[in-house]
């Protein structure tokens, strides 16, 4: 048997995976769609006399995408908690690359694809319901009327969609790696490690800025964002910002770097997995 990546074998593995897991995934899908529909639906019904709850909709969208996505990714290898399943999985004659690609497909393509389609379908339906049943109070001025018209999420805020999708890919690649590192309670443990590391990075970022920028220019350092002012707060003496091209590169390089790194780490973790 070929010891390198084989596409026909990958499809056999995929077929086996779908056949063995489809019922539980369909249940997850129904539960997920049901929860979103219920929460979003209640929001709409309770706002038939109020402006469209755009902020709350964004919150539901983001929570479902990021919380649901990371939870799904962090539990992808939950079967390792049952040793028998772990043994079957590791000893199935397929390469680690083929096995990892199943995880990649489901956490990076299938989940987000189904989520976006599901959410937008619900959004389409509920926006139409809102627009049909909205009772605008008489005291509302004409210039405020647009607050009482629901716009589909994909048309109203494309930047949010883009940012959240990029964040989704980063967070789920971390959660997927966590699923391979922790056998039990992977989501909770990965979240704790992530928060500790993030706090550490922010702290180190501040300490590095203190080291490279003199105290008299920028007292106590700062946390680097995309740019910052130097000198007194009220009368700044200058603004430090990355060159525009750098800014564009950093915006793409950091997420790509994290994404590739965590998937590479997942590959080696799977390769060295012991049960």
């Amino acid at each position: 048997m070929n010891n390198h990546f084989s596409l026909p074998r990958y499809f056999l593995l995929l077929r086996k995976f779908i056949k063995e897991n489809s019922k539980s995934y369909i249940l997850i899908l129904i539960a997920g769609i049901g929860i979103i529909f219920l929460v979003y639906g209640l929001m709409i019904v309770s706002n038939f006399h109020s402006p469209f709850p755009d902020g709350s909709r964004k919150l539901v969208f983001t929570a479902g995408l990021l919380f649901g996505g990371t939870l799904f990714s962090a539990s992808f290898y939950g079967f390792f908690s049952a040793q028998a399943k772990g043994i079957q999985y590791l000893l199935l004659p397929a390469t680690n690359g083929e096995k990892l690609l199943i995880g990649f497909l489901f956490t990076q393509i299938v989940y987000i694809g189904i989520y976006l389609l599901g959410f937008m379908g619900i959004d389409l339906l509920l926006c139409n319901i809102y627009n049909k049943f909205i009772a605008i109070p008489e005291w509302v001025s004409e210039w405020q009327l647009h607050y009482y018209k629901a716009q589909y999420i994909y048309a109203s805020d494309t930047l949010l969609l883009k940012e959240m999708i990029v964040l989704y890919f980063i967070l789920t690649s971390i959660a997927h790696f966590g699923s391979l590192c922790f056998t039990k309670n992977a989501f909770v443990k990965t979240s704790i490690v992530f928060i500790i590391l993030l706090a550490g990075v922010i702290y180190l970022n501040n300490k590095m800025l203190v080291m490279i920028i003199p105290e008299e220019i920028m007292p106590h350092g700062k946390y680097f964002q995309d740019s910052f002012r130097i000198g007194p707060t009220k009368t700044p003496t200058g603004i430090i910002a990355l060159p525009e091209r750098w800014q564009a590169i950093v915006t793409w390089v950091i997420p790509t770097f994290l994404f590739i790194n965590f998937w590479t780490a997942s590959y080696f973790k799977l390769k060295e997995k012991q049960v």
Binding site: E20, L91, A94
Partner: protein, 278 residues
Amino acid sequence: MIQFSDIYFGYSNAKPLYSGLNLSLKAGSIYGLLGKNGAGKSTLLKIMAGLVYPQKGQIEVLGANPIKRQPSFLEQVFFIPEEIDTPNIQVLDFAKEHLPFYPKFNFSQFKNHLAELEVPLTNLKAMSFGQKKKVWIALGLAANTALLILDEPTNGLDIPSKRKLRKIMAANIHDDRCIVISTHQVRDLDSLIDRILLVDEGEVIANAGTDEITEKLVFKQVGNQEYLEEPLYAENNLMGQLVVMKRSEEEPATRMDIELFFNAGIANKKAFNKLFNH
């Protein structure tokens, strides 16, 4: 077929399970891996399959390094753990999904084994633990891998199924295949096993064929203090004592008693090591 050279393994550095383990297993035999609880039997099976990695030493299984878990190695190995798990699908679909991964998989053989073991052709979810275990055993045998590893295969099986299992397994051993069975239920499989691997405290006490054992040892029931020579092991029972002694050339061979052999081996490691560990 399986060669362990100077293997060191432990779940923690402070407490090694195996230190400098050397072991050789040949094809064409059914090995009975015996040992007390916590002796490292399951770990030994996992090392063979590449499920855990030794800290030091060389392993060669079927000419490959199991640690790499390459498909060409995995297609020759089938491992049935003590605790099993099955998905929620039809039993024949379950086999069909495994079939393409094992080149020598024989689907009609699988169906025959299911019939012999009286497993219904239903959804796996509707089956009892014993029936699910029989499905896995049938799958493992039908995969026709060169190495079949079974960890406590008779746990959860009823008495008639144990008898049928012995029959099926005996019919499935051939010169190119090695079956390793770890078990505490030695009586269930004593007529099947033709080589015994006795481990205790990270050490292989005996690795010998049953004919070699009966050639070197006698197992007999004696009255109190009837023996002339000091036995290797003796245990009291209602009729006197059950003893294990070295066999002299003129003495007739006795039937092997695996349980007695096990107890004797654990109690008198040094003598057994000298007699059988080669």
